[in-house]
Symmetry: C2
Subunit: 284 residues, 2 copies
Amino acid sequence: MRVIRSVQALSAWSRALHREGVLIGLMPTMGALHAGHRALIRAARLSCDAVAVSLFVNPRQFGPAEDLSRYPRQLRSDSALCRGEGVDVLFTPSAAEMYPPGFQTSVVVRGLSRRWEGEHRPAHFEGVTTVVTKLLSLVRPHVVFFGQKDFQQSVLVRRLVEDLNLGARVVVCPTVREHDGLALSSRNQHLTPAQRRAAPILYAALRAGRTAILGGVRSAARIRETIHHTIAAEPLARVEYLAVCDPETLEPLRRISDAAVLLGAVRLGRVRLIDNLLVRIAER
Amino acid sequence: MRVIRSVQALSAWSRALHREGVLIGLMPTMGALHAGHRALIRAARLSCDAVAVSLFVNPRQFGPAEDLSRYPRQLRSDSALCRGEGVDVLFTPSAAEMYPPGFQTSVVVRGLSRRWEGEHRPAHFEGVTTVVTKLLSLVRPHVVFFGQKDFQQSVLVRRLVEDLNLGARVVVCPTVREHDGLALSSRNQHLTPAQRRAAPILYAALRAGRTAILGGVRSAARIRETIHHTIAAEPLARVEYLAVCDPETLEPLRRISDAAVLLGAVRLGRVRLIDNLLVRIAER
């Protein structure tokens, strides 16, 4: 595995592979890799000839009051995981390499970034879409892999890739969970033991919502009530938002006809967790 | 020459050439091609193996009160000019091809787009940088060609290409002028005979500014006065802005030390013209 730190070296690597017609897969990450990332790398390995993983804790997607400084950094074990999974290139640039002096360009996906995470983390998605555009320009992957856990992000990236003609196929892989349902996240390691025991409540509540839908409930308000009601049983969890949305536009639904995504964000102390469930109603 | 209308066909063309290691030059235009464009095509022919010209009157870079509907369209003669100059691909997409339903992504170069043209044409540069990003993603040219007449645009594009790692070299070719100094522009054809006679005043005024600098004047205020004074002699011309700026940051200068760009925009009736002059002071 080659570790690359400069944008020039990364794009030279990509150019050489493109000349040989090699199919490239890219997985953008912020490091602190876990089994969710591993599943994405394996999906990339299965469908691509060469796999690049970027590992960059992107300062532009953290708000001033957010957890940039305490976001977990563990380059050594991340690097071992990538090597063990057969990653070809690990791209670990510095912030100065990605944002040299004078940097001032932003990529904005206006409508889709407004609600939910965008509302609670104002500059977040602009940081994400800008860095993803840079990574896609540098690597020019044929396929780019994201996890479903960040559902809104995956919808935004699909839109971005189509709108800017970035030429990659966007593959979204299922969320990987602990045995008790908690979605894997690098931020889980900040949970206290009590918070960790409480954390699966978010997934449990979304499942209660799904059960209601599959049981015939069609009113989004009633489904949200069900989800809220489940979370309310857990005093450590504070809801940031819970939404029943169209999976493509992410606009809130009033009634569910064929599909919905249930989105949720909760706080457990200082830790903020998100999760989601996609529900499709089988046709009769 | 191949005429391409779809983004898929354009990016397939580019992919095939990249695989063969062919050096691609791109020239984005809005059509109504004139000798200024011809000079750019010739520069591209000299330094690249394959030349693509895009011809797209981009609605997103026109304001609601601007001249989108009367911007000259002359596909037949544009196509003949490109064929005659040995262009390989002429890309003429429809607006729906470039901005399909649901399109919502924008590329913004924040600082550099604020002043001058950005101030007088609020959405203009966001339209330009978004469409240029799309074209660069589709064609992935090794070199992209712009004219110096749109000086601020060329500075923004350089920034954009570096910031988003678009991987093209940006070449800016000198402004081509009529015998009386008027910068060639597709909009010149809207001038009445009297306005046409008056139009060279902008370039004459910028030259008066340059003469003052080369004669030893260092105060930007005095240089602007000189420029204004020259234009004031022409009653048909109404100044929109005249600026003495740093050629890289485009911020107004107070004193000139080594280099400056003189930027100007005037209106002659309904026609808006821009021009500029780059002045470098030779070291003693």
